[in-house]
Amino acid sequence: MAHGRVVKGVSFVGLRDVGDPVELATHYSDGGADELVLLDIAATPDDSSTMLEVVAMVADSITIPFTVGGGVRSVRDAAAIIEAGADRVSLNSAALATPSLITEIADRFGSQAVVVAIDAGDGVVHTHGGRRPTEVQTIPWAREAGERGAGEILLTSIRQDGQRTGFDLELTAAVRDVLTIPVIASGGAGSAQHVAEALRVTEAALIASIVHENPTGLPGLRREIESFGIALRPWKERA
């Protein structure tokens, strides 16, 4: 998301408006998504009240869990998002700058409420929407985030993001191997087969472009993923 709208880019750039967040969230919730992630990639302090309004409207409109990230810099920010109805907050650069924030939020809301998002490329963690490489190594950072109380890692491959050529399975497996918490694979989903491949490696896979392009295609995508022998939760399309 950016400035209260849903946007999508390729490798984090060239953002296009793809719709209204509440409308899309409702559509995906009704269409068989297991959970949603709302990331405000243009978060500025001025945007925080807009984001909270969106979070509250989404919470009242859907019946599946959702994570909210972007602009969470303090326990107070996290509390506001959770009180507005989100199940989890996602921390990215704020966790890198202040790793103790992971523990503080986990102590108050439980580990299941804290996702640490890692934008990974060339072995290191990137910040600023994937544009700026840091010196922090991806795998040790993922391990540290887990030790500090993160309940889940949202692992995005910058190279794969928006390319639709499949997830970075090697990276996903390598990060998963050093952790005892679940890992969400992100970046690169272009087909049901890609999602199925990711779900053989890890617990969850995030999709964006393929559904934003075709929001009514989600029930069909679920069936197609299942046709690759992946057991998704039992779900019935509404009559």
């Binding site: 919470a59 869990p65 439980g110 309940g151 952790l179």
Partner: protein, 184 residues
């Protein structure tokens, strides 16, 4: 009209529970006021925060006594996730916390598999999938529903507890929550 109190422990997401109640045409009040807890037709203990801070908050407001009194009088209480776990004698969470002691048993840390246990899991004997997000589980003789051998539903007198989040479990969750409320 049925009066529903959602117990406020001063932390976390109570909005989603209240929004689910509203979908089922139940208006709810969010409070930790003992008299409101005693008077309501149905009390919901939502699933938010950590065991210690929840118990401290409930003790300081006098809600603990009101909830116990309500349970003794066999009046309906629905516990969700942490709200279910608090009903047991004690919890291993936060270095050991005494619970409400409504139902026998202990809350223990999950072992085996990835923890926290996040995601949709099939619950027997309901035979539907619901959304779980937990690191601890209820070890109690009052378990009546299971998911991968983990306690998913707990029942004792007028208390019904759910380890999963019915308010986050789509249509199946709303149907089950409605059953809990109408049974109550």
């Amino acid at each position: 009209m049925t009066s529903v109190v959602v117990v406020d422990y001063g932390a976390g997401n109570t909005r989603s529970v209240r929004s689910a109640l509203r979908r089922l045409s139940y208006e709810s009040v969010l409070t930790s006021e003992p008299s409101a807890i005693l008077d309501a037709d149905i009390v919901v203990l939502p699933g938010v925060g950590s065991a210690r801070s929840a118990m401290e908050h409930l003790t300081s407001t006098g809600a603990v006594t009101a909830i116990r009194e309500r349970f003794s009088a066999q009046r309906a209480i629905v516990g969700i996730c942490l709200g279910m776990q608090l009903a047991l004698d004690r919890s291993e969470e936060d270095g050991g916390v005494a619970g409400l002691g409504l139902i026998p048993g202990e809350v223990r840390r999950l072992s085996g598999g990835r923890v926290p246990r996040l995601g949709w899991q099939l619950v027997t004997p309901v035979n539907e999938a619901f959304y779980f997000a937990h690191s601890y589980f209820a070890d109690t003789p009052c378990a009546t529903g299971f998911s991968e051998e983990v306690t998913a539903i707990v029942e004792s007198d007028a208390f019904i507890g759910l380890q999963f989040h019915p308010e986050k479990s789509g249509d199946a969750g709303l149907r089950l929550l409605e059953q809990c409320l109408t049974r109550a």
